[in-house]
Amino acid sequence: MTDRFNLYRFSSPATFYPLAGAMIPYFVAVSALFGIAGLWLGMLVAPTDFQQGEGYRIIFIHVPASWMSMFIYLVMAFWAAIGLAFNTRLSGMMAQALAPTGALMAFLSLWTGALWGKPMWGAWWVWDARLTSELILLFLYIGYMALTAAIDDVRRADKAGGLLLLVGVVNIPIIYFSVKWWNTLHQGSSVNLAKSSMATTMLWGMLLMAMCFWMYSIAMALMRVRTIMLERERHTDWVKKLIAGDEK
């Protein structure tokens, strides 16, 4: 219609669907590259931690998973805000596509943390503020998924879920700052740009793994959003055409 670059065009499912399909392989590949590099640095090169022995290597999963669990929630809340403000169709789909991956990351954070806690603290689980708030985060993800699943009308589900996401977003700063606010067992922040307390190889391994998890999450979300789009837009012509041609 207009020659101008039109942002709305990309937020229309019909354009976004093939775009997402084209991007997925790249994200998967980049994620795999980062993953290999990160694992190589972290598992093979990085030295032993003088306090924690080799057990610290869990950090290469634990921290990326923890970061992603919080980050994905923030992204979902962002989409929710967009959706509620501008009533775009895509935003609700994105939030719903992200939720399972976010929940998975929260689960991984808890799981690896628990496996780490046993050798370091002598218990699988302690009721420390950070651990608890991460658990709350998992519950928020599950609550969001349960709520959207319970509402059959997708537009209503998007709006109600979005509202819940915005209300629950207060939990994120609580998780992040919990180590500062309460004096707890869990380790404080050790990634510091100016002066890091970690060996450089460790730090780089962790950052590479974080990139790997990030790209992985994007790829998963894109894959999932494509299915959601087909489902929701099944009465539009573009989906009908696509499905009729797609005999796989």
């Binding site: 032993t48 080799e54 690896t112 894959m223 999932r224 299915t227 099944r234 009729a244």
Partner: protein, 62 residues
């Protein structure tokens, strides 16, 4: 440059093998399962939609 003396050392992880490999194993498992379920879901959806579409066109033809 490689930190480990032998492969068994690598597996033992300085005595923390169970915990480290428990973490990595579950993570790898979950990350492998997730895309598979998404794909499954997707093809199931497509098949269902195709069935619905066929039913619709049949009804419209009648």
């Amino acid at each position: 440059m490689i930190h480990w003396a032998s492969f068994s050392d690598f597996l033992a992880m300085g005595g923390y093998g169970l915990y480290v490999w428990g973490s990595f194993g579950v993570t790898a498992f979950v990350m492998a399962i997730e895309p598979i379920t998404i794909r499954r879901n997707r093809s199931a959806t497509i098949i269902r939609l195709q069935r619905q579409l066929r039913a619709e066109t049949r009804n419209a033809a009648q």
